[in-house]
Structures are given as C-alpha cells and as structure tokens.
C-alpha cells in the first residue's frame, strides 16, 4: 500500500505519512509502497505492544467491570491480570474470568506478577488514595478513569483520562455552525 492510499484512509497528507514512518527507519519499497503486515509489526515493536503488558484494576464496580471486559485492551497488547476492591461483598466475586481480590493483596500481586500498569476505577473521592496504594506497590503507570484529578510522584506517570474533553471541543464547533464557517 502506498503512502497516498494510507493518507487517504487517515485523512492526512501523504508526505506526513512518509516522514513519520521514515523517522523510525526505512520501511517502504520505492515504486511499491509499504508492506502492511510488516508495517504493523514494526509499529507494534516501536510502541512496545508486541508483547503483552499486565494491568491491575482497583475498583470492581460498574466502571472497573466495564474496563476489565473491554476488548480494546487485549487487542492492543494489554491483559487485565487482577482486579481489586475493598468492599468485602465484592471480594471473591467473578468479573470476566478474574476473581475480585482484597486491596490488601495489591502489593504482593503487583510484585509477583510484575504488573507495571494500574487502572483507578473507584468512586472519585477514593481516587487519590487508590493511586497512592498503586504507587506504593511499585506500579509505574496509572490510568485514572475517575473525574478526580490524581497525582503521583516521579517516576510514576499518571494519565487522567477525560472522556468529556472531546464533547466540549465538539460543542465549540456546534455552537459556531450557525456561522458560515466550515471546518474539517
């Protein structure tokens, strides 16, 4: 497939595609284009998603259960290795093919299974505490799915996902669509 075809699919300029790919090496063949299966392998290798990464979820409520069964994770090289809750009623229950464990086991499990990624899916008032426990357990990257903004000391990276940000962005353009402004 040529950079022109890829650019069509991605709605970006073809030179952009070529320059971005060339940044990591010479993947294409002149006169031919890019071999897609090879390209996918190369990109997965660059991103580090060519082998799977274990993640731990704190919070086994609706949100945690939804994330645990989200198939976009496995497709991208992530496996939910464990799910934790501090509600005794939930501990022992099944979520997907995992059993909910007590948060008191977090540190041991993270260490035993070399888990580097943590997902916070607790009520927002408990988010920072959950993140602190994850930090203490040795997790390196925390994805916070609550509306609270949480932080952690270096070298732990925290991603506060904001599912509303994009809606607000859209809103800005919606409210201008009365004008004669056209935007891509």
């Amino acid at each position: 497939m040529s950079s022109a075809q890829l650019s069509e699919l991605a709605s970006v300029n073809a030179a952009q595609i070529r320059r971005d790919l060339a940044y990591f090496g010479s993947f294409g063949k002149r006169g031919v284009g890019y071999d897609i299966p090879n390209l996918v392998d190369r990109i997965q290798h660059i991103l580090g998603s060519d082998h799977s990464h274990r993640i731990a979820i704190i919070g086994a409520g609706n949100l945690g259960s939804a994330i645990a069964s989200y198939d976009g994770l496995r497709a991208r090289g992530f496996v939910v290795a464990a799910i934790f809750d501090n509600n005794p009623r939930r501990i022992g229950e099944r979520v997907g093919d995992l059993i909910v464990r007590s948060v008191s086991e977090l540190e041991r499990v993270v260490s035993e299974q070399s888990i580097r990624f943590g997902v916070v899916a607790v009520p927002h008032e408990a988010a920072q505490e959950a993140a602190d426990r994850m930090t203490a357990s040795g997790i390196q990257v925390i994805l916070n799915y609550t509306s609270a903004i949480v932080s952690a000391p270096e070298p732990v990276t925290v991603h506060n996902t904001d599912p509303v940000r994009e809606l607000l962005h859209t809103l800005y353009y919606l409210s201008r669509s009365a004008d004669s402004v056209a935007t891509a």
Copy 2:
C-alpha cells in the same frame, strides 16, 4: 491571578496562557491579572458549556451505567436525560435516577427532549447499529465508548474514544527509559 500563576498550575509557558486567552478577547487587567470567576464564565461561554446539554445513552450494562453515574458529565454541563437498552430484562430497571427505556422509544424521546448528544455503550458488535439508530433519531454528536470504530454521515460527528491510546504512548517512553533520554 496572573498568567504566571496560571502557567505554574498548568505547567506551561506564561506567554502561552496570555496569547491563548487574548485570542478570544481581552479578559485580563494590566498590573492585576485575570479574575478567575469571570474567566471561568467566559471560557464556559466560549465552549458552550454555560448551559446544560442533554445526552442519551444506548446500552445499560456496566459501561452505560458507569457513564450514567459519571460525575464529570454534570460538572461540565452535561445531563444524562435518558438511557436505552434492547434487553427486555433491563428495561424498567433503575440506573442512577433514570429508568431504562426500550430502544424503540429512542427517536421519540430524542425529539421530545431535544437531545443532541448520544453515547454508545453497547457490546462492540452492536455499536454501528446503535450509532445508526442515533443518527436516524436526529442526534448530532455521537460519542462511541466501544472498541469498534463507528461512522456516521455528515453532519453527525462521531468521536471514537480510545482509552488505550494514551497507554500505548506511555509504553513507548517506558521502553526507552533504559536509555539516558529524559523527556517531560
């Protein structure tokens, strides 16, 4: 509060803050800084989040329920006005302070309540169909929370949220942290 203080909080350059705000008008007072309550009002007005927007959710499973009770929505000017499912067992159940309705009511409710935003929270294989129903019902913006990539014809805007993208991004830096490369 001065642009220097804001820039400290946001970890960006102070000139950036001033230029971004100045783009929409002259909000600050020289020698003083920005009046925060006024600034918040102005930004809410620019984004269109100064009055609330009703949203409809399709799918009352774990994911839909989690979104319906996500407090980040209300804080940003969104109100979940209705939640739909096509599983007869779920119809009539409570989710937060809403009653799950049959998808067959979607079009009528969207029209009656002037709902412009729709959230797709069904199993991924049903995502495109749910988006199609939303499009047909007159919804203008669709937020797809499934791992499927869905599309809709103009003028409907679709946002395929990808909660894993950021993790992959982090992964790239994690795998390079063996090198002596420091990155912000």
